[in-house]
Assembly symmetry: C2
Homo-oligomer: 501 residues x 2
């Protein structure tokens, strides 16, 4: 059943007796237990055991609390949700069927800062991991795990779990190693300094240390990560990218930054990707990243010679880029580190390095508050992810979104956001395709001026300005608002299908 090439992936012979099918492994997961699975934005996720558990739930009344790094690939979350196999889910997801289940309150979703899941587990604020499922490229001679394209929370899950199931993915070459830097924090009050002083500093091991006695199953798979879909830049994302690159140019001219900038962090998605791609062939050299997700643009910037080093928690790329990275791994190996997400997103490290954080907003308001998670204040979209970790601790906290969408029926700049994920205190720069608002050192009324002037879509500018002027006149205060009208764009959308007057 298991061939020689597969067995070569296990240098710890005691595990050979643990080899089993995904269906058998799925039976080892207890009903009502807490499962911690590898997987960060589709990279390095469980590709057979969690799907097999979803299959098991088709005929059996079983459900789990599932904690991951971030979102999973393929239809794993859909299948689990559709088969009612999820009680609780955290800290992030981006799956349409699961989203629906969450918004129908069939799954209890706990939306967390990605740096904090391990904190909550280690402190006992949330129930501990019973079973860890970790994707590996191979097992070393001590039974330790060589991870694949992500680390996420895997090292901690393995350390806390009572049982460990390992998925060895033979699609990942055994040579794909040496880029991981695995570490598990100590409990309070013995927590150590996170001694990272440049993006390339290493503080851990190249493998995930585990107790072999806890390994209950080894499963082989040969499925690639689900490819990321890279949208070509369109007029709007190009405009946002241009505004931002102009801004960086000016900061360099003023002597505030060099052309190496400071370590970049970019959220997932086409706007962030367009911004990073904008650096290709530019004057910006010796760039570095200290981010969560390394996307196609990271490798384009390596290839173009504009970027020197990138640290992340996962490599989440398109099919072509995935093949390139695996095939030419030697070329990239010394320029990469993958870290646990409590390290990639650690407030301590972010503030020490001085990150430039670029994240995507669903909507923002005239005073600089940002909504990253909720549609019309009620429906969960994906989750806050790491945006809060980065925005709070960044040298520069930048949020981007289009000014308006859906034939301009929706304005993404509003009098008041319907849900706040990032407060006015944590936002430095806002960018839409219409322009850029630099909020640094401004009080709320000044921010409103520059946001209305630079970021609002022209179709909405007049009405939003009128609101602001009337709020100043009739209510006044530090942050003028007419509370009875603050959500009028949202309620109009609900009533008429458009925010337009």
């Amino acid at each position: 059943m298991t061939n020689e090439l597969e067995l070569n992936r296990i240098l710890f012979k005691d595990y050979e007796s643990k080899i089993m099918s995904a269906a058998e492994a799925a039976l080892l997961i207890d009903n009502n237990s807490v499962v911690g699975s590898s997987g960060f934005t589709k990279a390095g996720d469980s590709k057979s055991v969690l799907p097999a558990f979803a299959k098991r739930a088709e005929t059996e009344d079983v459900a789990i609390t599932l904690i991951t790094g971030a979102s999973l690939g393929y239809t794993t979350d859909s299948d689990l949700a559709n088969n009612n196999a999820l009680i609780r889910r955290m800290p992030f997801m981006a799956d349409p069927a699961l989203r629906k289940s969450i918004n129908e309150y069939k799954v209890k979703y706990i939306d967390q800062h990605l740096s904090e899941t391990i904190e909550q587990l280690i402190c006992g604020h949330i129930a501990a991991i019973d079973t860890a499922i970790i994707e590996a490229s191979s097992i070393d001679e001590n039974g330790n795990i060589i991870p694949t394209t992500s680390i996420g929370n895997s090292a901690f899950f393995a350390s806390q779990a009572k049982k460990i199931i390992i998925e060895i993915n033979t699609k990942i070459p055994v040579t794909f190693r040496g880029i991981h830097d695995s570490i598990v924090p100590k409990s309070y009050p013995d927590r150590d300094v996170i001694n990272i002083q440049t993006v390339s500093d290493r503080i851990g091991t190249e493998f995930i240390t585990i107790d072999p006695a806890k390994v209950v199953g080894i499963v082989f798979t040969d499925i690639t990560d689900q490819p990321a879909i890279i949208s070509e830049p369109d007029d709007k994302t190009s405009a946002i990218s241009k505004h931002l690159l102009n801004f960086f140019e000016k900061e360099v001219e003023k002597g505030k930054l060099t052309y190496a900038l400071l370590p970049l962090q970019a959220g997932i998605g086409k706007v962030a990707n367009a911004v990073l791609t904008g650096f290709v062939g530019s004057k910006f050299k010796n760039l570095t990243m200290y981010s969560e997700v390394l996307q196609d643009s990271t490798f384009e910037l390596f290839d173009s010679g504009n970027m020197d080093f990138a640290s992340g928690s996962s490599i989440t790329v398109s099919e072509g880029c995935y093949e390139n990275v695996l095939k030419n791994f030697d070329k990239y190996k010394n320029k990469l580190i993958l870290r646990p997400q409590n390290i990639s997103n650690a407030p301590e490290v972010l503030r020490r390095l001085g990150i430039i954080g670029i994240n995507t907003a669903i909507e923002f308001d005239i005073y600089g508050n940002v909504n990253s998670t909720h549609i019309s204040g009620t429906k969960m979209m994906n989750g806050i992810g790491g945006s809060g970790d980065f925005a709070r601790n960044a040298y520069l906290s930048i949020f981007v979104c289009q000014a308006a969408s859906k034939e301009n029926k929706i304005s993404h700049v509003l009098p008041m956001v319907s849900h706040v994920d990032h407060t006015e205190h944590d936002v430095d720069i806002l960018v839409t395709d219409q322009g850029l608002a630099d909020l640094r050192g401004l009080c709320p009324r000044e921010r409103a001026e520059v946001i209305i002037e630079n970021c609002v879509h022209p179709e909405y500018r007049e009405e939003i300005r009128e609101y602001f002027e009337r709020a100043k006149e009739t209510v006044g205060g530090h942050t003028p608002h007419i509370l009875s009208e603050a959500f009028k764009f949202h309620t109009r959308l609900k009533e008429t299908g458009s925010m337009k007057q």
Copy 2:
């Protein structure tokens, strides 16, 4: 003019020629310049030069941007505001006349996380300090400053300023030294680890290092800090304290904490003080603090033997406690450290130590979002202070407030807060006199259940529950809200003077 006792305070003889009156020093402050002044919650503030500048502004058209540690004592901010001597003010204030000016937009107020003012200055996000005014107890033989009852941002102000004015306060004994730990961060990309691993670790110097060539004036004063007003615990604050102490007892029983707990942080005010006072004579021993403000309760806990060590950025106490600390300084000296506020509030240190943060809310909502700054979403009260630094990075983030006030015309628990300073992601425990809600690991709808059940005042419970039930039925979603009604309590208050139906 200057007597011998005063001159004994200056061991650096070059400064003797710089001795002048406060009125003379105030003339050295340029119109339209940026002034950085010592002073943190009334402690160690400028007691003669800033007041003299306010006086100068009575007859002269001069105004400044004033940056402090936190709030100032006496009527300094009032006098500056009333004489139109302030252009911008940051990062915190708690003065009635200044509050009025801010809400009338006569002063531009930039409300900042207290850890971040230095970050914004060092990065050039806000205009640099022109003149620093620092209170000292004495000057050492190298011209360096021995600070008084606070550090705040003083060390950084002195390092960045072009001109320095020192106020030597002879009310502080020259023996009041050895408790300060002064340090200034390096600029990016050379930022160091903040190597504090226990509350008592020292990383800096006992004095504020300055370039003597920048000193333009030395002024003598003999005015004590304005005393803090300590309100006796009332029924509500006692109830809140009791709920919280019961909670800590249960955490100890569960084995999650020991009776030493973890380092405590408590915001300023009577509720936090009542909670801390509740530990006096309790089973909780070997307590420590890693906080901003050390209040009377800190010294009561030293005296009762319940607390071992306290780190803060200021000592802000009542008249009696002030006299006691100065008189019996040797007794307390080895149990105290005062740090710059970018260190007392450093995300890095807070997450490493695992703080229990107790802060006061103006209002919170059924999903766990907290408003710390704005009355009815518009009028600035005081500012966010350090509450965001602590809440985000705490082991436990606790917010307290009374359930209702003003003959119960105002409910402090609401369907939706009118301004968000701390998001649902950053709040673990909410406490009112009615009870305690433990939100850890709960999704929004579950949080609403425990908050409505435990925290809401009975007069409002039914209406808030009805809102929640109807929002679930008619709108649904992850965080059910009826946006057109979410602020109905606030709008009713505005219309009728009461939130009651």
